[in-house]
């Protein structure tokens, strides 16, 4: 019974849990329910990934309506991989958020936080597993609306304007996707992704479909904070509660990158998007500019959360660059970086949240002397920071290795050089924080008794991520196998010629 509906579980569990969490009435109880549900979703995602790696893709007809008429949930190596990362991070963040939320969010809003988190998780899982383009839009909006709410829950009033800006930008992005999907439907009469890909292939070149592609790419570009459409991201990440930032930074934009991959490779076909429309050059230039501009912006910020937010935009540049290399190796590098970056940024933002928990603000000068007073937090921050820089034996190095070797495989030495130079800027912005933490003394007037290590419920999830940073940097078999299977699958299914057309009955 459960196995049969395995594909729907990552959506259904959090969706059902959301109202329950609101009704249980006590913050600690809500936390427990949410964490358990998220944990179950992780187990389901793990099962799905194993099934997919063993037997290819998996299809589930919602409500028993067969595709292409009904909504289809479709799971293959690519989305099972990302799904596992998202649900696992969600569980860890939920464990972490008990103390963090108690500190940063007013007590009457705790239940709302857990509810919104559940809705967001349901939306993100939905985006990942759905096989229907319109359904994807709906899940995108479910997760986005929950995200706006989450961002606005912080006690600092600036989170409100940040959330509002995010809402305006996000809605425009979603509406653009809606327009694009509408154009595709107009031309093809279908919304199922596989069906769409077959039917789009039938047209040599259609202005409607190309316009649809443009709308979708801009819409997704806003959602994934592709430079120069990233302006909503830094304020939202800076002012949101720390647990929310940790969750969003490591999942929401990653899922949007996945949406981009899905649209390019499954729906439009890589050949059409890159060769006919020349999208690879556009994406590559934007990605490289993002890496440099935003890494530079990260080096001049004072608020550490803003530093990491700009760093996130730069890192998204690496993922998009992987996609824009138009090769299975490049796509694989992008997919690996989705997973790896989730690990690094999750750990970093959790560490920053821990600092906020004790110090009460996260400007650069607040980090002074923390190396002595919060040794475990700062050690975790250091390791995750080294991972961002791309030091060997961390996941960051693995990402970089694959990305640069994918670029070199194509003889693209310029991109390889630029990627490596860009990562030098990470040395600067991480180094500034570490210097403050380890080489300066606690500011005058701070009570050293107050600034001590955070509770275990915050430390343990942080360190699980830090250790994952190291583990997957040394034993890369799981990530590379999954990512290369996914990349292979996406690339081949994107390049193959037209299979038989599913006729729609009148």
């Amino acid at each position: 019974m459960l196995e049969q509906h395995l594909a729907a579980l990552p959506i259904l569990l959090p969706l059902i849990a959301a109202p329950i969490v609101l009704l249980v009435g006590r913050s600690s109880l809500a936390w427990m329910v949410a964490t358990l549900v998220s944990g179950f979703a992780t187990i389901a995602a793990w099962q799905l990934l194993i099934t997919c790696l063993a037997s290819g893709s998996l299809s589930y007809a919602v409500g028993g309506w067969m595709a292409p008429w009904g909504i289809e949930l479709r799971i293959d190596a690519a989305n099972a991989f990302v799904l596992l990362a998202v649900t696992a991070i969600s569980t860890l963040v939920l464990i972490y958020s008990k103390d963090s939320v108690a500190k940063e969010i007013e007590s009457d809003k705790h239940l709302l936080f857990y509810t919104a988190h559940m809705l967001c998780l349901a939306g993100l899982s939905g985006i990942l597993v759905t096989g229907d383009a319109f359904n994807l839009f709906v899940f995108l909006e479910i997760s986005s609306l929950a995200t706006y709410t989450l961002v606005s829950l912080a006690s600092d009033r600036r989170c409100l304007t940040a959330a509002f800006r995010y809402l305006v930008m996000g809605t425009i992005g979603a509406t653009f996707i809606l327009i694009g999907v509408g154009m595709l439907y107009m031309k093809t009469g279908t919304l199922n992704m596989l069906d769409l890909s077959v039917r789009i292939n039938l047209y040599e070149s259609s202005r409607t479909i190309n316009t649809g592609l443009a709308f979708v790419m801009v819409g997704v570009g806003i959602k994934l904070a592709l430079f120069p459409l990233h302006m909503w991201l830094p304020p939202a990440y800076t002012h949101a509660p720390s647990a929310v930032t940790a969750f969003l930074a490591s999942t929401a934009t990653k899922v949007a990158v996945y949406v981009m991959i899905r649209f390019i490779f499954t729906i439009f076909g890589a050949d059409h998007v890159f060769n006919d429309m020349g999208m690879d050059l556009i994406l590559m230039v934007l990605a490289v500019v993002a890496i440099f501009k935003c890494s530079y912006m990260a080096t001049v910020q004072n608020n550490v959360k803003t530093v990491l937010a700009f760093s996130s935009v730069a890192q998204i540049g690496y993922m998009v660059l992987g996609i824009a290399l138009v090769s299975a190796a490049g796509l694989m590098a992008g997919l690996i970086h989705i997973f790896n970056h989730a690990l690094m940024k999750g750990a970093l933002f959790m560490a920053v949240g821990a600092v906020f928990y004790r110090v009460g603000s996260v400007n650069l000068q607040d980090f002074r002397g923390l190396g002595k007073h919060m040794p475990w937090t700062m050690a975790g921050f250091t390791l995750a920071g080294l991972s961002i820089i791309g030091v060997p034996l961390t996941v960051g190095f693995i990402s970089k290795w694959y990305l640069v070797s994918a670029a070199l495989d194509q003889g693209n030495w310029l991109v390889a050089v630029l990627v490596l130079l860009g990562s030098l800027l990470a040395v600067v912005y991480i180094g500034r924080i570490l210097e403050a933490a380890y080489f300066q003394k606690l500011p005058e007037g701070t009570d050293p008794e107050q600034v001590k290590e955070v509770p275990y419920l915050m430390l343990v999830p942080m360190w699980i991520l830090v250790i994952a940073n190291l583990y997957f940097g040394i034993d890369t078999s799981l990530t590379t196998d999954a990512a290369s299977a996914a990349a292979q699958w996406l690339f081949e299914n994107s390049q193959t010629s037209v299979p038989q057309v599913m006729e729609m009955k009148p």
């Binding site: 706006y148 009033r157 809605t171 327009i179």
Partner: protein, 118 residues
Amino acid sequence: MSFILDYYNYWVVVFLMMTGFYIVISANNLVKKIAGLNIFQTSVFMLYISMGKVTGGTAPIVVEGVELYSNPLPHVLILTAIVVGVATTSVGLALIIRIKRAYGTVEENEFKNSDDAI
């Protein structure tokens, strides 16, 4: 001329879309921004509805003696999209209420700190 007349529904959509977009960008008042966003979304609803129309077809309700119906699927889709739009509007308005409480204004140019600009 026929180019304009044949595609008049699209012209309406494009006009509404640009109007909404312009309001979102230029309005100083946050409520007006939300209103602009609504107009922007509505234009897309129109796009969907108008493309479901089949020439000569009636409303997609099964009646005896009628053979040709318009496509009902876009209507269903847009029902969902309208729900999403309403939800977005309500979240936006709720945010505005909290902004008003926190800052005492909903006019963008009256925020003192330039960091808060939207």
